[in-house]
């Protein structure tokens, strides 16, 4: 019995991490999936959110800025706000870059942000990071605290999902898709393309900041390693593409599924015979790469491909809905 209780707790941890990653993939979906903005600096916005949360809520500690002891929800809002501000700044200078160029610029900016958190030790305790970050509901007894935290994460994912679904089917979302598919046509139709792209980038960045704020609480420890580009940027892209770009359900599914693959492969590889003991960890990374290739080749549209909102009734019959190819994206 106790054994199954353990599995249940592990399942909750998968849901928590999957949920936090889902917040990130949903944020990325706004930018990449809807609008086609190739933001490869997720880790940067994530780090801003995580550090804001950590600094605003931790008790006073001599080695980093802190002692403000804000209530957790308020700090989460602040984390979102500051990520949005940073996102606005980045978007202001980079938004006219297309596709891969935007990707590379944002990778560079994210690395610079990480270096700032690493080097400005007076505020962040440098590479040693911030510990003892308060976590929502942690005063409840086990397992209620875990359950409550999972519930909070999943509720946040749900709220974001509903809001984004609404935005997607609303005129705003249609303009985004139009910009992604054919920017010149959207501009010709009188849409202020740059402004829409900027909005999309800022909203996505705010969500990434929220993801960081949740991660800081869950781990209770934040250091520059947490925003390492491998697990904080590329993994998020992998999740979104595997789940189904431009599909909000796909984004959530991709996060949950890929995190499970990322985490649970180790349960398999740690069972390899002794002579592989240490090497099993490398086998695991290899397996992750292989599963990714498998998904890519078998389901190139993602597990849940994009579904366009139905044309407005007034337009139906005027023209056929655009073919769902996704291949016009760069």
């Amino acid at each position: 019995m106790e054994q199954y209780y353990g599995y249940f707790l592990y399942l909750l941890s998968l849901l928590t991490m999957g949920g936090i990653y889902a917040v990130l993939t949903l944020g990325l979906n706004v930018q990449w999936g809807f609008t086609g903005l190739f933001n490869a600096g997720i880790a940067g916005f994530f780090a801003v959110g995580a550090y804001v949360q950590a600094i605003l809520t931790t008790p006073i500690y001599a080695r980093h800025l802190g002692g403000y002891e804000w209530p957790i929800p308020l700090a989460m809002l602040a984390a979102m706000a500051l990520s949005a501000v940073v996102g606005y700044g980045v978007a202001k200078i980079c938004i006219r870059l297309r596709a891969d160029y935007l990707a590379i610029a944002t990778i560079g900016i994210a690395e610079i942000i990480r270096l700032v958190f690493k080097n400005e030790g007076w505020a962040t305790n440098g590479p040693r990071g911030i510990s003892q970050i308060p976590k929502a509901f942690e005063d409840l007894p086990q397992p209620w605290n875990t359950l409550a935290f999972v519930a909070m994460v999943l509720a946040i994912v749900m709220v974001i999902y509903l809001a984004l679904e609404r935005a997607r089917t609303a005129p705003w979302g249609r303009v985004m898709t139009a910009i992604r598919e054919n920017e010149a046509a959207a501009a010709a139709a009188g849409k202020n393309v740059e402004r829409f792209r900027l909005e999309s980038f800022v909203i996505g960045s705010a969500l990434m900041g929220l993801g960081g704020a949740l991660m800081a609480q869950y781990l209770k420890q934040i250091d520059p390693q947490v925003s390492d580009p491998l697990t904080a940027t590329f993994l998020v892209f992998v999740m979104l593409i595997a789940g189904g770009s431009a599909n909000n359900k796909g984004a959530i599914l991709g996060a949950m599924l890929m995190w499970t693959v990322w985490s649970a492969t180790e349960i398999l590889t740690s069972r390899l015979p002794d002579e592989f003991a240490i090497r099993s960890a490398y086998v695991r990374i290899f397996l992750i790469g292989l599963i990714l290739q498998f998904i890519l080749q078998r389901r190139p549209q993602g597990i849940l491909p994009e579904r366009r909102p139905k044309p407005h009734p007034r337009l139906r019959g005027d023209r056929a809905p655009a073919a769902n190819t996704g291949s016009t994206k760069q």
Binding site: Q3, N119, S131, Q132, L257, E266, R284
Partner: protein, 399 residues
């Protein structure tokens, strides 16, 4: 795809339940990630301890000690995930690890303390771990950095250095030691001519070194991992002629430093402190002899600590008389500290017999006497390593 995952999940679940006659202990280490090369010998130390125990009667009624490896990658995210896996899926009764301070901090705060599982880290050295509110569940056999920086500063002063340049890699481990070193060296009356952080993993440090050498320092105090930036810095410094003499902490202790740079270039010019027991100590010699079977260097940083952490957990299980986390946590200080009959590495049969007879034991480890204080920390014991005529490291215990 779904079938594959379902199948994998089923296989995992089917394989999981602890088999009869098996006691599981988590072995959480940064096997991949930035210090993979340092972690391999530590894990070998842990596995050696488990092998000793299992070959000499095993735990309790002949149960096998199974170390379940999980990768903490030196990243708190991975540390928490690894902790979750070993605690909830593998249902271990205790954990050896995790490897880096950040990953350890995340794992213990988010997983093991709430779950009531004791953990003994063999290589997390951050002082912040001492400050945790841990319900007496978090122990470590690795001393807090506060000790090593001080030991190295004293060593430098006694070696006659008065003016030193300092450079440290910007990571959680080296930044901490450097800070303590500078404070202590200046406290002794020494002068630090330049104190500069550097970003690890760059291909060249010639510019940084030249800038550091500007203040007329007698030697360079270098705090870095050998693979990240340490070897490159020594090589660049010797090639540019900026520095000829070096002092370093245990992140630099590896035979590859000699292999790569050449003993003739380092003899008399390099001192590396290392957290270790007295090499003339019986405990260390027993460990070193046994460790040779792994094909690695017994002096490798924290390999002895890995052995000790694992052995201590086994002793605590034996002392507790049951594979129960709370009892193990309570038993850990009992088996590590005086009073009791002294147990050394490898002496599992003796310890088992003593505990069965109701006698107290006191483990004297390969890495030192491993006596836990109230915070679960151990005092630091350090040795200094220099290069001898045969081009090998020669260890001298610092008193």
């Amino acid at each position: 795809m779904k079938h594959l995952i379902t199948a994998a999940a089923l296989a995992a679940l089917a394989a999981t339940p602890a088999m009869a006659g098996e006691i599981r202990v988590g072995s959480v280490a940064g096997v991949t990630g930035p210090i993979a090369e340092l972690v391999a010998p530590i894990v070998a130390g842990r596995n050696l301890a488990a092998a000793h125990i299992n070959a000499n009667g095993g735990l309790l009624d002949g149960d096998t000690l199974v170390l379940v490896l999980a990768d903490s990658q030196c990243d708190p995210k991975a540390g928490v995930d690894a902790g979750n896996k070993v605690v909830n899926v593998e249902q271990v009764v205790a954990i050896v690890g995790a490897s880096c301070s950040g990953a350890t901090n995340g794992m213990v705060q988010s997983v093991t303390i709430p779950a009531g599982i004791p953990s003994v880290s063999d290589s997390a050295t951050a002082p912040s771990i001492t400050d945790l509110d841990d319900n007496n569940l978090v122990f470590r056999t690795a001393p807090s950095d506060a000790y090593q920086g001080a030991a190295l500063a004293k060593l430098a002063w006694e070696a006659g250095y008065r003016k030193l340049a300092v450079t440290y890699a910007n990571d959680d481990y080296n930044a901490g030691i450097a800070e303590v070193f500078v404070a202590n060296f200046e406290g002794l009356g020494g002068k630090v001519t330049a104190n500069q952080v550097h970003e690890p993993n760059k291909a060249s440090y010639r510019a940084e070194i030249t800038t550091l050498s500007g203040g007329g320092a007698e030697a360079l105090a270098l705090f870095a991992y050998y693979g990240g930036s340490g070897i490159t810095i020594i090589r660049n410094a010797l090639e540019t002629g900026a520095f000829g003499k070096f002092m370093a902490a245990d992140g630099m202790f590896d035979v590859s430093v000699i292999e790569q740079i050449g003993a003739e270039n380092l003899r008399g010019n390099l001192m590396i402190t290392q957290s270790a027991s007295d090499p003339s100590n019986t405990s260390y010699q027993l460990f070193a002899e046994a460790y040779k079977s792994t094909g690695m260097d017994p002096g490798a940083p924290y390999a002895a600590h890995g052995y000790d952490a694992t052995f201590l957990i086994a002793l605590a299980i034996e002392q507790a008389g049951a594979a129960d986390p709370a009892l193990i946590a309570a038993a850990l200080p009992e088996v590590a500290n005086a009073p009791g009959e002294i147990i050394r590495p490898g002496e599992w049969e003796k310890a088992k017999a003593l505990i069965a007879a109701g006698k107290a034991v006191n483990y004297e480890g390969a890495s030192g006497s491993v006596d836990f204080d109230a915070a679960g920390d151990v005092p630091g014991f350090y040795s200094v390593n220099t290069i001898n005529a045969e081009g090998k490291f020669e260890m001298r215990f610092l008193r």
